[in-house]
């Protein structure tokens, strides 16, 4: 199933690599990825989409939340459904 994640992350050198690297290392294939600064220049918003089942989604959300640079991880579809 297609999922879209919205990740707020500290605008530090290497932060994007760490998120992308985590998905790659754990066997998730990112379909689309956009990164942009937010109104706060120290924070970037990363929006990515990927195909995975619900169990795998739950695990990658939890693993992403372990990255020190990550401020917030949201899965808007779940948020809307909830």
């Amino acid at each position: 199933m297609n999922h879209t994640l919205s990740i707020l992350l500290q605008n530090e050198a290497g932060a994007l690599v760490r998120v992308a690297g985590l998905f790659a290392a754990r066997g998730y294939n990112i379909d689309t990825l956009t990164v942009a600064a937010t109104h706060d220049p120290t924070v970037s918003r990363l929006t990515l989409s990927l195909q995975c089942d619900d169990d795998a989604l739950g695990q990658i959300l939890q693993q992403t939340r372990k990255l020190v640079d990550v401020l917030q991880v949201a899965h808007p579809a779940t948020a809307l459904a909830a």
């Binding site: 500290q10 290497g14 760490r18 690297g21 939890q62 693993q63 939340r65 372990k66 020190v68 401020l71």
Partner: protein, 618 residues
């Protein structure tokens, strides 16, 4: 901490050196001193020279009354050795281990210990020199993209490009390493940052608001009455409840709380490889190791149990190789962990708590006692005792060849679970896990998740620095010790009374065991009978005064006694039966019920025939 700490610089908690002019290198060393670092491990090189010079000057200016250095820097043969020394120090002491290396190859040699420590949740701070800021990305001499490389395997990595952030970054590295689920943190410091003139502040950390918010939520999580009630409702319905305790018990310093919980409710305990020492293995309710090479009685108890309480354990593939077949009769699985990502990752659980383990266990114990819960487990206890009796560990005791198990039993008769034991990886590691007693946490140092051969010797060195007066033994294999054999010289250079045992079966024993089972005995690259290494002479060449080879069964007891009694570094090579295998074994893809127990441990099918009165429960 955090944002508040940045603001609250009052006169009372002002650092005595606040405002002092320091170089970046001096700032790093001062923060290390403030964090209570008692020893560091590392190898010098161009890009870290300013820090090494600052360490030299710090130790000269702050020499102890007896002339010793307050923060000695221990030099290995290879940076990987430094990393595993720091990890051995951290595992044995519970403190953050510190390693300092240069850029490029110095830092890449550190990748294995960093990944190893990440996989086993060991707190490290690794300071790496880096080429100057202006040279980064230019393919400079001894340049490597350490923030990229380490970012994939450390808990976190900082590349300090702004010297003004250096002090807060190094301090924050310690907080990150030891908080939540511990892990290694790498700080990559370009040489020009080390040489920048700074003003020491003496306080302050990076904000890291995302991490700290999540950490606070986990650290403050408590078990409410409803959570406790649900837990005990399930426990009281169980007739055969079992605790499955992992390395989290040790990381969380929760072994006393576990003891109290077991005293209150009587659940038997099986431990993972990382959890050994978290519960006294000589206790009647201790089932010792479970999993691929767990004891037969522990694995059968997992087969039989109807309730599992997983404590700081993650159902990894060496325990739950086939998750669906793990604890197949368990009607209820409860899990407590500090890491939310581990909850239900492998096996769905019916009840869980994310929070500090010690507090959670104390809360459950208090709640259960207050409500008078007392599971009636006499029948289960009798069953467990019978499993331990019938399926006890055993081997060919009449063999004319030296059996590795006999060597470990002989050592254990002297140490009784009170020595610090490190290992390499392979058969000797599993035998040590199976045949030693483990009485207390932080006495068992092994590369559990990564399975890094060569871990044992440097880890023992680090542990000896953490506990100068304790007996530290490296149980190693002939193949594992070759990986970091340069560190034999480090033992004698620092005159550490480390005891090194090499169980020599002339090759990669565990690989051969798999090749016998699954590759028709074709020993591809695992036989070392043509290798020329004379280990005893190698140890002597590195300065071991006591270095002997044991080849005859009859000399075993006396040699072990003499070896352990030697006051100083000692090296013992034991020529063991090269065909000795690790049993029991749960093969890949097999369930515990399909465990192979070998010729000397009763398997359940055999036991049922022999023991008609062993159990009435199943």
């Amino acid at each position: 901490m955090n944002a508040q700490a940045l603001k609250t610089e009052t006169t009372t908690d002002r650092h005595p050196l606040a405002g002092q002019a320091m170089s970046g290198a001096e700032v790093i060393v001062q923060v290390l001193a403030d964090e209570g670092v008692g020893v560091m491990f590392g190898y010098s090189g161009g890009a870290i020279l300013p820090v090494y010079d600052a360490v030299f000057r710090y130790n000269a200016e702050h020499a102890c009354a007896d002339g010793s250095e307050p923060m000695p820097l221990v030099v290995p043969a290879n940076e990987q050795g430094a990393g595993f020394m720091a990890a051995g120090y951290a595992r044995a002491s519970g403190k953050v281990g510190v390693a300092i290396v240069t850029s490029g190859p110095g830092a890449t040699n550190m990748v294995t210990p960093v990944r190893d420590s990440m996989a086993d949740s060991i707190p490290l701070v690794v300071i790496c020199g880096q080429v100057g800021t202006a040279a980064i990305g230019s393919d400079a001499f001894q340049e490597a993209p350490i923030s990229n490389i380490m970012g994939a395997c450390a808990k976190h990595v900082f590349l300090v490009t702004d010297a003004a952030q250096l002090e807060a970054t190094v301090r924050t590295a310690f907080t990150l390493a030891r908080s939540g689920r511990p892990g290694p943190v790498v700080v990559d410091v370009p040489k020009d940052v080390q040489n920048t003139a700074l003003s020491f502040r003496g306080t302050g950390e990076l904000a890291l608001s995302g991490y700290r918010t999540r950490l606070r939520a986990v650290e403050q999580a408590t078990l409410g009455d409803a959570d406790c009630a649900t837990f005990f409702h399930a426990l009281m319905q169980a007739q055969r409840p079992l605790i499955y305790a992992g390395g989290g018990v040790i990381a969380a310093a929760a072994s006393a709380a576990l003891r109290a919980f077991v005293d209150a409710f009587g659940l038997p305990v099986t431990t993972t490889l990382m959890g050994l020492g978290g519960f006294d293995s000589t206790d009647p309710l201790a089932l010792h190791l479970l999993g691929m090479h767990g004891t037969a009685y522990a694995n059968y108890a997992v087969e039989d149990c109807d309730f599992v309480l997983a404590l700081g354990a993650r159902f990894d593939d060496r325990v739950a190789g086939v998750p669906d077949k793990f604890a197949p009769r368990a009607k209820f699985i409860a899990q407590i962990d500090i890491d939310p990502a581990e909850i239900g990752k492998v096996k769905p659980v019916g009840w869980h708590h994310v929070g500090p383990l010690q507090r959670a266990l104390e809360r459950l114990t208090a709640y259960g006692r207050a409500h008078g819960f007392k599971p009636q487990l006499a029948e289960w206890h009798a069953h467990v005792a019978e499993l331990k009796r019938v399926h006890a560990m055993n081997y060919d005791r009449a063999s004319a060849l030296i059996q590795p198990y006999a060597v470990l039993e002989a050592i254990n008769r002297h140490t009784r679970g009170r020595a610090i034991v490190s290992t390499g990886v392979g058969q000797h590691q599993m035998w040590a896990a199976q045949y030693f007693d483990f009485r207390a946490p932080r006495h068992w140092l092994t590369s559990g998740s990564m399975g890094t051969m060569g871990f044992g010797l440097p880890a023992a060195i680090g542990a000896q620095f953490a506990h100068r007066d304790k007996l530290v033994i490296d149980i190693d294999g002939d193949a594992s010790i070759r990986m970091n054999i340069g560190e034999l010289e480090t033992v004698t250079t620092y005159n550490l009374p480390v005891k090194v045992v090499v169980l020599n079966n002339v090759g990669d024993g565990m690989v051969r065991q798999w090749q016998k089972l699954y590759f028709k005995g074709r020993f591809a690259a695992s036989d070392k009978s043509l290798h020329k290494k004379d280990f005893v002479r190698a140890a002597q060449a590195d300065g071991f005064e006591w270095a002997r080879r044991l080849e005859r069964v009859g000399e075993l007891e006396a040699t072990i006694a003499d070896f352990l009694a030697f006051d100083g570094p000692a090296f013992l090579e034991v020529m063991i039966d090269p065909d000795a295998g690790v049993y029991p074994m749960v093969g890949p893809g097999a369930s515990y019920a399909q465990m192979i127990t070998g010729d000397f441990i009763a398997s359940r099918a055999a036991a049922v025939v022999r023991e008609d009165s062993s159990s009435h429960m199943f």
